[in-house]
Symmetry: D2
Subunit: 138 residues, 4 copies
């Protein structure tokens, strides 16, 4: 498994009149989490796009356990539990507040696609080389 | 079943550099769809809050089939397939473009909660009276 | 002068924990206002982009007089006070609530630019023909 | 003068189909800049709200010089040029990319208001004590 953590400070724009973070913004937290997960491998999503590959989101499942609040410094833990073998990659996100309470979990499935042809493709080899070490033999 | 339709014009702010609507914004489309579904019953979510009841989202599952694009006039079809019996309500959303292509489906689960106590509660009777007619005998 | 009106229903995502619309979202209201102003002329901003011209915003000045609130149906009045003569166009927006209170005014300046060269250019002739009738002789 | 710097990584949600950061999101960058400016003084905007004071934005003026792009690590420089003497405070923001190019400048005026009465009030003394040292004698 490959696991990564990043932190996000909740600013006012993310709150709603219930006094908590609007539920629709968690997809952005997952996005920030997975882009930082890739960056911590020494690679970036920007590099992937520069190779002509895009990664559209095809499925998100979010569970909201407790609300995040204004000025909270949340931790986004991003886990890759399986090495992608084809065109699909699934990131599992867990979001915690400073007290360590689990606020939210989200599973996000993305495809690797060639931007030019819009055909599904495999994970770029350069990215795979960065990740494979975390998954032992196989 | 109770079913409702509303329309949303995609403005620039909703697009991203892939040239499509950012995946994280669909939660807002579901929100607009279900608030209009309630309004078409002659009631509003604002009325519900005025009664001291809030409806936090506890679960969202989205599937992204085709992208929505800038200036598309999308249709959000919001379905209530079951009459809520306790503190939980599930809205099923389908999003179509003008050509009638299904772009996205989303299931959103919300709880009814008393704002003061933050305890789960039943659907307000006034809202139930509006909905019950769509669900035949029971 | 050319003047146009459009309406926007405030959904939950636009509110913040002050219980009002977050100030940063008004730029989107101006955008919706000016794109509908162009559409009401029988043209679209999408058409402009299809011609290879983009219109980046170069200046915004907003004054916030009264807050917009959840579920308000606001009116965005978009005025073009002068016919653009070169690469610059200024839209003046006024935002009202249902009671007719003026909530916000915003002046937004955009440039016409060729997407390919990123050089400033004149307003497309096809758009000018739609607008010129509102400005009398000149 | 009191000056502060903070950094923001541009994520995908902030881009639009022009391939740059959507102009409407800069207001959020100013917000993050000024809240971090206050935090660096050993105080927070959350503390201010806890005292029953809110700070609505009443005026924003933004100039867009160059676009911020996906994955840019922008610097928000937030300057307080004058010590507020009454209910008004003006923050001047400058936004730079990693190459040091000035992308955007924004002046944001906020009022201090009592949340209960919605009457304008003076800057909280506790915050003033943190800031006054940066403004020499007076």
């Amino acid at each position: 498994m490959y696991s990564s953590e990043t932190h996000i400070r909740i600013h006012y724009a993310l709150t709603d009149q219930m006094g908590v973070v609007y539920h629709g913004h968690y997809a952005q937290f997952y996005e920030i989490g997975r882009s930082e997960a890739i960056r911590q491998l020494g690679y970036t999503y920007k590099d992937i796009e520069a190779m002509g590959i895009i990664m559209p989101v095809v499925d998100i499942h979010s569970k909201f356990l407790r609300p995040a609040k204004y000025d909270d410094l949340i931790t986004v833990k991003t886990n890759l539990k399986e090495l992608p073998t084809a065109h699909k990659i699934i990131f599992h996100s867990e979001i915690y507040n400073e007290a360590g309470d689990l606020l939210n979990v989200g599973d996000v499935t993305l495809y690797f696609m060639e931007a030019k042809t819009m055909k599904r493709c495999n994970m770029p080899e350069a990215l795979k080389q960065k990740i494979v070490q975390f998954f032992g033999q196989y």
